[in-house]
Symmetry: C2
Subunit: 332 residues, 2 copies
Amino acid sequence: MDQMNTQKPHELLADTLASEMEAVNALIQTRMASKHAPRIPEVTAHLVEAGGKRLRPLLTLAAAKMCGYEGDDHVKLAATVEFIHTATLLHDDVVDESGQRRGRPTANLLWDNKSSVLVGDYLFARSFQLMVETGSLRVLDILANAAATIAEGEVLQMTAASDLKTTEDIYLQVVRGKTAALFSAATEVGGVIAAREAAEVQALYDYGDALGIAFQIADDLLDYQGDTKATGKNVGDDFRERKLTLPVIKAVAQATDEERAFWVRTIEKGRQEDGDLEHALELMAKYGTLEATRQDALGWAAKAREALEILPEHPIRQMLSDLAAYVVARLN
Amino acid sequence: MDQMNTQKPHELLADTLASEMEAVNALIQTRMASKHAPRIPEVTAHLVEAGGKRLRPLLTLAAAKMCGYEGDDHVKLAATVEFIHTATLLHDDVVDESGQRRGRPTANLLWDNKSSVLVGDYLFARSFQLMVETGSLRVLDILANAAATIAEGEVLQMTAASDLKTTEDIYLQVVRGKTAALFSAATEVGGVIAAREAAEVQALYDYGDALGIAFQIADDLLDYQGDTKATGKNVGDDFRERKLTLPVIKAVAQATDEERAFWVRTIEKGRQEDGDLEHALELMAKYGTLEATRQDALGWAAKAREALEILPEHPIRQMLSDLAAYVVARLN
């Protein structure tokens, strides 16, 4: 993994797919326009121009290119997934009452909740028009299912977040909604438009799904053991926000009665005191749940890499493999 | 129009299509379920069970039946348009900070804004899955375009509502977004799945579009001259909420400098005083804008009825024609 010291895998992907990404950006610009409602491009541009890694459109472009796709629909679908992602960010910020996103004030703060809700709806509708233009019912089916998984996962997260009955299965469903469903749809549609055989399309789905899960578990783990400078988050934010993530779910599953009472008070009831985070970390250490969570993340990353094996040999395949290694490399 | 004294046209439609509407309701029940997120059916049921006239699904069923359609997709599409409508109501209540809808407390009040935003997103995704199941790219194209028109109209309404530069054209675009786009999509898809020729499909679109516009203009007019008991609204609500609707837009277009200053103060700046509503009504009377607005509504209703003329002779055709007459009958 020494090559990572020079260029990160997603940066290498972005360089390799630079001309396609330019077409995606141009399409996004065109499609976020609105003749009479300038608020729409204003709000959208605020988020889109803030950048981010553009991981999701890159995944679609990468999957299509690796599968030998020669047409233009991959550009439309890459813009589609970026619009869906941007729409969910706009709605998430309203739901979370966030004030910052990607180091900038959120749209709901700069404008208002109304703008975030309605512009999000507009981007959903725009993404829907774009995918219809591909004329592929299979693509539409995949993205409709992804949209439902995303929305259901969000509702589930809202209602299950502080509920100690939340199992690892439900956590996984939330994680698929938050991250993996759009990753897997992004890679799968790349194979579908390239008309690859079923096993390869399944492999692309599996790669995106496992990559997304590894990515989100790593994120949740770093919340408890990350380097504040590197992650931009404070250790224990999820604990303070009473979010049940994998390290806590694993500790709750093994808790004694007394420990369970601690979790009920701090997470379910949210009555937190000084020293509670430290005690939570002690309980996680007692049952080795941070290490177990790390092993889960590594397992999903390995699954993502394995899924790639049946796909065509291509320089992009190596980059996607390195990307899966990279999302968990920061856990070592 | 004497038959209306006994049964209203939408009630007659509902009776005629009762077995299909039952299938639509059963499908809605099934598709709003969520294994792990009970909040979804709770919130949805709150709105769906509050009833309303179910005008949009009725329009889809009516169009399909009138066109001789024999399959099951009209039930799916009727559920689709009802899901889209319910989703927009949920988001509208967040945007408008409403406390009441159909005489009951709104979901954002009973639960919270988060639930309204996310359950709305879930219903959009569900509607999208349902329409994909019909396997018709034309249906998908129509509904994707309707979704974009709805969202753009909502943003436009938010930003143009109190802006005196708003023209009748922009008002019409807002009205299409609020009401007519889903009406016209609802009727058009009925003709598309029945595989009717282009002119008939266009006529169905024209009917829904004109019906929706007549309906909304009538609503906006009744805000200034309605019977509070019949409409459930107070005269002048739109004025107090600084919403530019057609009677005011027409008065602003003809205003003297002094009158313009009045509109700037009361609508643009929102600095309203006692007696302002009365003065606004005087200005509308001076230029006859309430009567001109009524003529517009009657014109759109006539257009809706004319559009039906090339469609197959069928008892439902008469009910649709009566429905168009009915939405403006309350203006006489």
